[in-house]
């Protein structure tokens, strides 16, 4: 008996010894004709790449494209490159590969830019919407281009338009001659019903169905677009929040991913101070007139920390404190660090579909454009399976709520008009150095296929996300998209009234993130007492509960001053590392 137990123990031990080391994954190439593409499997998924593969393999039948659908971080990719186990290309949700660029581990993609993939004379370079920016941030000392754009995803407040209309939270168009003239100019027909104007039909695409009450035109001045009826002034915004608070909760965001609120912060900052100041902020080069000063101050890299005194940052901190940190009004999960962003999305949808104890009504969700696609197989699928009517994927009219006009703002045009929003992710694709010249060439060709008009438009039609290239959608594609995706498409392309800032890309306007110990860390370290906190919202929460009355009395000013305090302290180290001064 003892012998049997001993033998079994040895066998079991050996078995565990073998399995305990895990399984080494080595991307083996069977016949040298596989192209391995690693695609970040985030909110947009990877289904969009299937038609690209089919297209490529039809033209190059001897090659096969394998997809690795993982959420690869920059660190993982760097380590894989160092181990020699990298994929042939990475399609990532970030553009933080500067360390690899400067180590010489990435291929120059300038040749992809020269490719013509649409059967006409347009090069890919001519399609990139912000090529100048990419040439600045993706080059090596101004030469070449080592990353090309992937997805461009805005984050902001999301609301259920239908529910807001039902609740009377949106502003109706006034029944007056000016409105009627504007509607006629837009070729919109309507009927009158007392003070309301009722939509009948339109020659152009609008968001209205027959019988809908026409809402006030938004900041774009047009009817039937993505921002109709939204509050514009701070007073209107406050009124909306009061009503939401009375009805349920005002805002919901994930307690686990507090950093989403940082992009609201970024957007308010950029809207108040304008895009020029935003660029000065990230390049540490330019001029800015600080609050209380009579003339602008010139800022250079040596005293770049001064940018943290910009007034827009104070306004953004105030905005965060007022609307996202009001514990009485915001949803409980904003305090629960174990609640994921997908659960948060679920509670947002449920709050309207089926309000309950843990999912009461909440007005605004803080999330990005990917959220609807991400929840497609989660809450929307669950609701459909539970026969909850009207809440299947694509049925609701979700929209981004633009920020209110903040008195004194520069806005989108620098004169106070329009809205600025921040993009959460600035995705990119890279190609690590490859000794196999044939595979390298085919990899680049495959990547160029992803940038064909048909595949770009298919990406948008399928996921709702947008890639920063010039392409159009057919009516059929538009009709196949969810209302939220259509609204975002419209908003994204309203370049007259909407400016998008990209903090995770714009930070590379200076070499600080990749040439100093500042690293790729987020910008917003605020020193509260002895400790620096790396998110404005975290810093606010710490400040308002501080035991030091000098801190807790005015958390907004504490956090605002804390930004400059943190960076001023560390600035000499960064300059030393850059060998400046």
């Amino acid at each position: 008996m003892k012998k049997i137990i001993s033998v079994l123990s040895v066998l079991l031990g050996s078995l565990f010894f073998i399995t305990g080391c895990g399984q080494l994954i080595n991307p083996a190439r069977k016949d040298g004709k596989e192209i391995l593409i690693s695609v970040y499997n985030g909110g947009f998924g990877v289904d969009w790449i299937d038609p690209v593969i089919a297209d490529f393999e039809a033209d190059y039948p001897e090659y096969t494209v394998e997809i690795e659908d993982r959420k690869r971080t920059v660190e993982e990719i760097s380590n894989l490159i160092a181990l020699g186990q990298q994929a042939d290309a990475y399609i990532s949700c970030v553009a933080d590969f500067h360390q690899e660029i400067y180590k010489g581990n990435l291929e120059d993609l300038s040749d992809i830019l020269e490719m013509k993939v649409d059967g006409d004379d347009r090069t890919i370079a001519s399609k990139v919407t912000n090529l100048d920016l990419w040439k600045k941030v993706a080059s090596k000392d101004g030469e070449g281009i080592y990353m090309l754009p992937y997805e461009d995803s805005v984050l902001g407040f999301i609301y259920d338009h239908g529910k807001f209309v039902e609740m009377g939270l949106l502003y109706k168009a006034t029944n007056d001659s000016a409105t009627k003239t504007a509607l006629k100019n837009q070729k919109i027909t309507f009927t009158e019903s007392g003070t309301e104007l009722i939509f009948k039909s339109s020659e152009n695409r609008t968001n209205y169905k027959e019988g809908d009450v026409i809402l006030r035109a938004g900041k774009d001045g047009k009817y039937g677009t993505y921002d109709d009826g939204q509050p514009i002034t701070i007073d209107e915004w406050n009124k909306m929040f009061s009503l939401l608070d009375a009805y349920g909760n005002t805002v919901i965001y994930s307690g686990q991913v507090l950093d989403y609120t940082t992009d609201i912060f970024n957007g308010i900052f950029a809207q108040y101070d304008g895009v020029d100041a935003w660029n000065t902020f990230f390049s540490y080069s330019g001029s800015y007139q600080f609050e209380g000063d009579s003339a602008p101050t010139t800022i250079s890299m040596q005293d770049g920390y001064k940018v943290f005194g910009m007034t827009g940052i104070k306004k953004a901190t105030e905005f965060l404190q007022t609307y996202l940190n009001n514990k009485q009004a915001i949803h409980d999960v904003t305090d629960e660090s174990s609640v994921s962003h997908t659960e948060t999305q679920a509670k947002f949808v449920l709050g309207t579909a089926k309000p309950s104890t843990d999912a009461p009504f909440v007005g605004l969700l803080v999330d990005g454009v990917w959220w609807e696609n991400e929840s497609r197989k989660l809450i929307f699928k669950d609701l459909e399976a539970s026969n909850v009517k009207g809440f299947s994927y694509g049925e609701r009219d979700y929209r981004f709520m633009l920020y209110p006009e903040i008195p004194g703002q520069k806005g989108a045009d620098g004169k106070g008009n329009g809205s600025v929003v921040a993009s959460r992710t600035a995705g990119s694709f890279i190609v690590p150095k490859n000794k196999n010249a044939d595979i390298l060439e085919k990899t680049k060709i495959f990547l160029s296929y992803t940038l064909k008009d048909e595949h770009l438009s298919n990406f948008t039609a399928l996921t709702g996300g947008i890639q920063p290239y010039n392409y159009t959608l057919t009516d059929e594609q538009l009709n196949s998209m969810t209302p939220f995706a259509r609204n975002y498409w419209e908003m994204y392309h309203d370049t007259e009234n909407i400016k998008i800032v990209r903090p995770l890309l714009d930070r590379y306007l200076s070499p600080l993130p990749y040439k100093t110990s500042k690293g790729n860390a987020v910008n917003w370290y605020s020193k509260i007492g002895a400790v620096s906190y790396n998110m404005p919202l975290s810093a606010l929460r710490i400040a308002e509960t501080s035991l030091d009355p000098a801190i807790s009395a005015d958390p907004v000013m504490t956090v605002f001053k804390g930004f400059e305090e943190h960076f001023k302290k560390n600035w000499p180290t960064y300059m030393n590392e850059l060998k400046i001064g």
Binding site: E336, S337, S338, A530, I542, T545, S546, L547
Partner: protein
């Protein structure tokens, strides 16, 4: 004359003493002794080596580090005397967190001592007396120690944050039950509760086992003297007998007074509200905030200062307990 007769051998007391005195002299280095020492040190060699490396050298290195200045990558840049100690003291003095952190550390310890230990001993007595259901109780109280501490912590946190307010709303209609973890009015109270609540697991095994070692005659004699079975027996008979075990827990608990973070790290990582800070957590936040070796000397200096405070206090406690504690004599 006093005679001793043993094993058919007769000797006087004086002769016996003389013999004993002879025996007390250091034994000769015979082969037997050498073999014995060879065996002893062959067994102790590895443990002593580990001690020398992982205790002596590590702490020696830590002491040396406290007087150094290091770069990001850990290279020694220079020697800075007592600068790191001064920086640590200055940091503590400048920070308003010191008084609350110290206060909270003592509250946490005292709660564990006065509430936790008191009830641990009382509960253990009844487990020792094997009341109805004690087997099931013993099984259940060990469960948190068996399930990962991390899982228990996360489940507790999620339950308290999410399910508890919902429970009160569902059962009683209370809509504004606070979030006992994130509401700063309750955070530290919840931390104390959790620490005390979780402290029972090992104690409710150790104490009853210690009580089982008490000779039956001792307890019987107490009953003969009129001591009631129950808390009276616990206080008069059982406590003195298990006092060494209690001493061990008291001393080891006291020595960790300044290092205990409670469940703060599991609950909050480095973002706990200041009202809930303990000295151990304050130190942890400083450590977690440092991502490079540049702060190692400063942290080593801080550690030494706290050790210098706690070590003599711990010895003092040990002395006091041994000096003034109840006698175990049967």
């Amino acid at each position: 004359m006093n005679m001793i007769i043993e094993n058919d051998k007769t000797e006087t007391l004086t002769e016996r003493s003389a013999g004993l005195k002879i025996q007390k002299k250091r034994p000769k280095l015979t082969k037997k002794v050498l073999i014995k020492y060879g065996f002893v040190w062959s067994i102790l060699a590895y443990p002593v080596l580990l001690f020398l490396v992982f205790f002596v050298y590590v702490n020696f290195n830590s002491i040396i580090m406290a007087f150094q200045e290091r770069s990001f990558t850990g290279e020694v840049i220079g020697w800075v005397g007592l600068k790191n100690f001064g920086d640590f003291i200055k940091n503590i003095a400048d920070s308003p967190l010191l008084s609350i952190s110290l206060k909270n550390s003592f509250i946490l310890y005292l709660a564990g001592l006065l509430i936790g230990m008191t009830f641990q001993i009382i509960f253990s007595y009844f487990l020792f007396r094997k009341f109805w259901g004690s087997t099931v109780v013993r099984f259940i109280v060990m469960l948190p120690a068996i399930i990962s501490e991390f899982i228990v912590c996360l489940v507790f946190k999620k339950f308290v944050e999410g399910a508890l307010p919902t429970m009160f709303e569902t059962l009683f209609g209370w809509k504004s039950f606070p979030n006992l973890i994130s509401d700063t009015n309750y955070t530290f109270g919840t931390v104390v509760f959790y620490s005390v609540w979780m402290s029972f697991t090992t104690s409710l095994v150790m104490y009853p086992n210690a009580m089982n070692q008490i000779p039956d005659e001792v307890l019987e004699s107490g009953r003969i003297d009129g001591i009631q079975m129950g808390l009276q027996e616990l206080f008069y008979m059982v406590l003195p007998q298990i006092f060494p075990t209690i001493t061990t827990f008291l001393i080891t608990g006291f020595s960790s007074l300044l290092t205990s973070t409670g469940p703060l790290v599991a609950f909050f990582m480095i973002n706990a509200p200041q009202q809930a800070f303990t000295m151990g957590y304050y130190y942890y936040v400083e450590v977690a905030g440092s991502q490079s070796q540049i702060l190692y000397p400063y942290l080593a200096a801080g550690g030494l200062l706290m050790t210098a405070i706690m070590a003599p206090l711990t010895f003092l406690l040990k002395w006091a307990l041994e000096r003034f504690g109840p006698s175990q004599d049967h």
